[in-house]
């Protein structure tokens, strides 16, 4: 096996449907720190470099739950995914071109890692991320769906994406009488809000 083949065959490029945190850096140090921060079993940490980040993002099915980056550029292929899907984006240092407006920028690694931990431990009205994938509702029901996972983890923030990307989540939450629904917030981002708030308005 040659070097090129070996790089292509890396386990980090294997397609998988587990919740994934894609960490794009020049040397992997931040990926190691994220690995130590995320609770065990909550997400697979995929350690990427600029040149393989888009390929690895494509192996995160249906898309990466979170992308963490530092001191690297974002290739057009990766930027396309980040602008089209509700992906949590945490960036250390100056954000490169191509990131959507809902990307969060941090100046200190400790603050970024704390945000990663909070996203993993998010609890929105009893909805929590289940280990590996899906969201557990207050009654123990497991709801599958990457968009809902992103909305729960981003709360109270949201995503600068079209409303249609969240219709299936709104229907699923209504079907389970979860008491929450995605709505556009004052920053024009789609975020979770209590359904009762909407009834009162």
């Amino acid at each position: 096996m040659g070097v090129t083949d070996a790089a292509r065959m890396l386990g980090v490029r294997a397609p998988d449907r587990s919740r994934a945190i894609l960490v794009v850096t020049v040397d992997g140090e931040l990926a190691v720190a994220v690995h130590d921060t995320a609770p065990r079993g909550m997400a697979v940490i995929r350690d990427a470099r600029t040149d393989d980040a888009a390929a690895i993002a494509g192996a995160c099915l249906p898309w990466p739950w979170m992308v963490v980056g530092s001191t690297v550029s974002v290739t057009p292929a990766l930027a396309t995914i980040l602008r089209a899907r509700p992906v949590l984006i945490f960036w250390l240092g100056a954000a490169p071109d191509g990131l959507p407006s809902h990307a969060r920028v941090f100046t200190r690694p400790a603050a970024l890692l704390e945000a990663v931990r909070r996203a993993c431990d998010a609890n929105v009205g009893g909805m929590r991320l289940a280990p590996g994938s899906g969201v557990e509702l207050r009654d123990g029901t497991l709801l599958r769906g990457a968009t809902l996972e992103s909305l729960v983890a981003a709360y109270p923030d949201g995503f600068a994406l079209p409303t249609r990307a969240f219709r299936a989540v709104a229907e699923a939450l209504a079907r389970h009488d979860a008491g929450w629904t995605p709505e556009r917030d004052r920053d024009a981002r789609m975020a979770l809000v209590p359904s009762s708030t909407l009834v009162r308005q």
């Binding site: 070996a6 980090v12 294997a14 449907r17 140090e29 190691v32 350690d47 280990p131």
Partner: protein, 222 residues
Amino acid sequence: MRANPEVLILEDDAETLEELQGHFTRKRFHPLGARSAARALSLLENNRYSSRPVLAIIDWDLGKAPDRSASSGDVLSRLARELRECPVIVYSQNIDAFNVRSQIQRSHPSALLHDKRDGDASLLERIDRMLDRTVGDLRIHDGTVVVHLPTLDQHHHREAIRLVVHHPDVVTFHSDTATKAVRRFGEWLQSHSSAVRLVSHGNRKYRLSVTVSEGAAPENDA
């Protein structure tokens, strides 16, 4: 008939390999031992339809390997691609170095790390904690059966053992045959009114969840 679950061991030091193999044999597992990455890849290739190890123990540094045509990273990548349901422990003298950890994580994002400087006894203790698991009212016995402790009834399928070893993590199963076995295990848990239930995450992904009743002990983690 009970098929003893296999454990893959890649260790370049002959004495340590023998010690690890002996440990697993005493625990009724079937060790697949290799001193080189090439040999480990060959074992995986030759047994790909009959053998899917329930655990892999990988020495990252293979300086004493008789054959250097492949690396431990190649074995980890193969495990990550083709045996995702197999938990992997990687140990190294340099496990604290971020570049080593990064290389390991790029080869196998879910690998568990162990510091070789803590000695072989520490590794064996950790392995025992994984394999002699008690999860809720279930316990693995002799590496070959899951015992429901209140009734002492036994479930023999290796996929059940895999779920208990992995708890609380999600396991991705590789075939319809495996997922059928998992669902039968879920029915067995229900029929025994076990405190443990099977949770489906779709796409052949399952995990065990323990219902903690009032006054009961919390879940036991490895």
